[in-house]
Symmetry: C2
Subunit: 190 residues, 2 copies
DNA sequence: TATGACATGTAATCTGTTACATGATTAG
DNA sequence: CTAATCATGTAACAGATTACATGTCATA
């Protein structure tokens, strides 16, 4: 019974996540991207407008043309129930090793949208799963490092060490974020 | 007089960099990618073989078919003089803010290949330039954080903090790497 | 002699980038 | 009234992913 949904790109999810709390036009979205560090997820109209239309074709957002008196044509998009479901399953899905290696930014995007979309408990679960995955990948990297160490040039070894440090930073951050969330849950501050 | 070269992708440069110390076949290269953390730069034959052919068309590598008695067909690629020049100018080119935001992995790739390709002095210069760029971007991010802080949900704020920490890790790493290189240069160890 | 790993590739499809095009509205 | 900016898009192209196709050699 499950129809195989065509895949949604990172950009698509970024758009869904931004539209979820507040409907917006393509132009609004573009401005959010280009004016903040979200520009990592593309900020060109040639990516955003087609992505919005794809989401619309899949029934995940619905665009309505605002036609108040004398307004320029401005199409405002809203997330549909279906779109919200997709967003939630994307956020709560498992964190694969491949996510960690090839789609780190997408992981952070998932977490950034987690709380408003799926609540603090799910956000905390996400962090714990991420901590585990990052820890495991870290020990793989460290092992790989001891193997490659001697034959590579110094700059190569240093570059590899940066890779390790980056995942250490991720791991430490998950620990701190978990602590923060647990404090919030105990303290009862929303 | 300067003919506008078609652009080379990250993967293209990764291949050039790997071929520079030692000629290899497409399959060898694929194995390097898939067996190490270089798999971040794609590991599928559908990316690597076409990329090699593009490089060949541009005269940056040359493939020769090894036909020793009874061998399977195996095409070994070597970097040409032109290819080496391209690699060097890619490595030594300026580090733009855009590189830092959208192509961080490519920056590390440039550095990883720096020492064998352009020597320790250039590698050190690269690090210093990177330290500066990272420091500047960091203060931008910190500023953006104080602005966005209050209105965003906790998970959004935490995700942003991770972004800051990641660039802090990069910055700290450049400082350590610079220190390492300076020690090596003084100490005279190759 | 059949199986599996080696080695190389191609085709379809999707997405993003770049660069341009269009009209509507506001500021000077 | 004209320039800029708002808001929306399209077309051409490059590159990557996925999935498949092909042939060769070693070994059981």
């Amino acid at each position: 019974m499950k129809r195989k949904q065509p895949k949604i790109s990172s950009l698509g999810y970024a758009l869904l996540g931004l539209l979820q709390p507040k409907p917006a036009s393509g132009y609004d979205l573009r401005k959010i991207f280009s004016s903040t560090s979200m520009k990592t997820y593309s900020d060109s109209p040639g990516a955003i407008y087609p992505a919005l239309r794809r989401l619309e074709r899949q029934g995940l957002v619905r665009g309505t043309i605002e036609d108040g008196a004398g307004l320029r044509r401005r199409q405002v998009f809203r997330v549909t129930a279906n779109g919200l479901a997709q967003l939630n399953s994307w956020i709560t899905g498992p964190i694969t090793p491949d996510d960690l290696i090839a789609r780190e930014k997408e992981i952070l995007l998932r977490f950034a949208f987690a709380e408003p979309a799926v609540g603090t408990t799910a956000a905390l679960a996400f962090l714990k799963s991420l901590e585990k995955a990052a820890g495991e990948y870290l020990s793989e990297l460290r092992q790989e490092f001891t193997i490659m160490n001697e034959q590579a040039p110094l700059s190569g070894r240093l570059a590899f060490q940066y890779g390790i440090r980056a995942y250490e930073a991720l791991w430490h951050w998950t620990r701190d974020a978990i602590a923060t969330y647990e404090r919030v849950q105990k303290g009862g501050v929303s």
